[in-house]
Amino acid sequence: MKINVLAFGQIADITGKSELEIFQVNSTGELTQVLEKTYPQLKSGNFLIAVNKKIIQKNTELHNEDTVALLPPFSGG
């Protein structure tokens, strides 16, 4: 079970790279838990989650090779 994670904006600053591979997680909830353990700064929860380009609001089941994007809000204009 492999999940591809795309990090945008400030999230990529925290993870240090814009693409990550996370193994052995079955849901977006488990994924964020794993990420928060490695990158405690993510605990602020300041991003939205998209699974295969669909923005989700609640815990969602993941499948092998799913792509999960983490998008932070921007305010600049």
Binding site: L6, F8, G9, Q10, S18, S44, N46, L48, A50, K53, K54, I55, Q57, K58, A69, L71, P72, P73, F74, S75, G76, G77
Partner: protein
């Protein structure tokens, strides 16, 4: 307009399949409000004006600063210190004298937003802070106005269209479906602190103009219920689908009356601090005692303050320079909005817990308003 002239000016787009004179006439009749005439607003305004959008409103209460010129392409060196909205309108008028331009040199707030927005068909959002973003979104939801969203930071930008039903599903989404809760104020840096590549708002603002024109004319597929994310370094475009949020915790005003009384500062997590003083308090304080006042804005940020004298330590260099501050006096920090100055207070108190330091609430924006009210009341200001 004389049909011959119309064809001369707009012929290249009238000639397009699916566009024609019908779409051009829709543009002539359209009323678009562009909020913020900065990095996103400048390119959006230029293309909307060039395309022949009949009536364009520009909301911005800021003045041009030298640090704006790297991305805000409507302004020149001789415009520094001038109001952005009227300067932009003047330039656009010379690009296209046939369109009607309306200038709102006011700070958009809950007391005036509904009245201003109600006069237009579509809103293009080029604001630079979350309070105004949530406020403009909520106003557009209440007034059923399409909102063309754009936001940038560093090398990345987002754009999307809210409040228009998708033609297939009739689903409508808005900014609160994307981000139901605003981020904590300190967690998202502004372009002032984190920087932005000048071309990036150029690209995102141009996408916003394109989406606005598509909505007006009915051509193509606007980004309804979608946002795109663009990275200028990797050239990667991602498109994401937005669905209505089931998060019912978000507190949005349900009526126009609730909107007028809604506190967006509070909503965006800005809790206030005992280290803040109002413009009025500062004015009284400086008349009574010797203060050490410090501007923590970056060099060249405007306006300068003439009512009192002050030193300058940009926040970006604050940690290194904090030791040069004489901590015997009461210290007052100020910036544009009061955010960076509050950070400065916190940094200083970390280093020198015994000193007395305050931040000017609302920054030079609030000070400017305070001075305006004083002048209206014809009270003399001692310098």
């Amino acid at each position: 307009m004389d049909p011959k002239n119309k064809y001369r000016r707009y012929g290249r787009q009238i000639a397009l399949k699916d566009f024609g004179t019908e779409a051009q006439d829709k543009l002539f009749r359209a009323k678009v409000l562009v909020i913020g005439a900065g990095g996103l607003g400048c390119p959006a305004l230029q293309y909307l004006a060039a395309a022949g959008t009949g009536r364009i409103g520009i909301v911005d209460f800021d003045t041009v600063e030298i640090s704006n010129l790297q991305r805000q392409t409507l302004y020149a060196v001789e415009d520094i210190g001038k109001f952005k909205a009227s300067t932009a309108a003047e330039k656009l008028k010379s690009f296209n004298p046939e369109i009607q331009l309306e200038v709102f040199e006011v700070k958009l707030g809950t007391k005036n937003a509904l009245d201003i927005i109600a006069e237009y068909d579509i809103v293009t959002d080029g604001t630079d802070n979350f309070e105004t973003r949530y406020m403009v979104n909520d106003a557009c939801v209440l007034l059923h106005k399409p909102l063309v969203y754009g936001a940038v930071l560093r090398y990345e930008g987002q754009a999307g269209v809210f409040n228009i039903p998708d033609k297939k599903t009739w689903i409508i989404t808005n900014y609160r479906d994307l981000f139901p809760q605003p981020p904590k104020p300190e967690s998202v840096p502004s372009c002032n602190e984190a920087g932005v590549l000048g071309i990036l708002p150029g690209i995102i603002g141009t996408i916003q103009a394109a989406e606005t024109i598509k909505i007006i004319t009915g051509i193509g597929a606007p980004l309804c219920n979608k946002i795109i994310s663009y990275n200028v370094l990797s050239n990667l475009f991602y498109e994401f689908e937005v669905s209505p949020s089931e998060n019912k915790d978000t507190i949005a005003p349900a009526t126009k009356e609730e909107f007028t009384n809604f506190n967006y500062e509070w909503f965006c997590g800005y809790e206030g601090s005992s280290y803040e003083i109002s413009s009025e308090e500062l004015d009284a304080m400086r008349k009574k005692e010797d203060l050490f006042i410090i501007d923590v804005r970056e060099p060249d940020e405007l306006p300068a303050i003439h009512e009192f004298s002050y030193s300058t330590i940009p926040l970006s260099r604050f940690r290194e320079s904090a030791s040069s501050i004489p901590t015997g006096n009461k210290i007052i920090f100020f910036c544009k909005s009061g955010r960076r100055s509050l950070t400065a207070v916190n940094i200083l108190l970390e280093k020198y817990p015994q000193c007395e330091a305050y931040s000017l609430k609302g920054g030079v924006d609030a000070w400017g308003e305070y001075i305006k009210t004083l002048k209206k009341g014809e009270t003399s200001i001692s310098v």
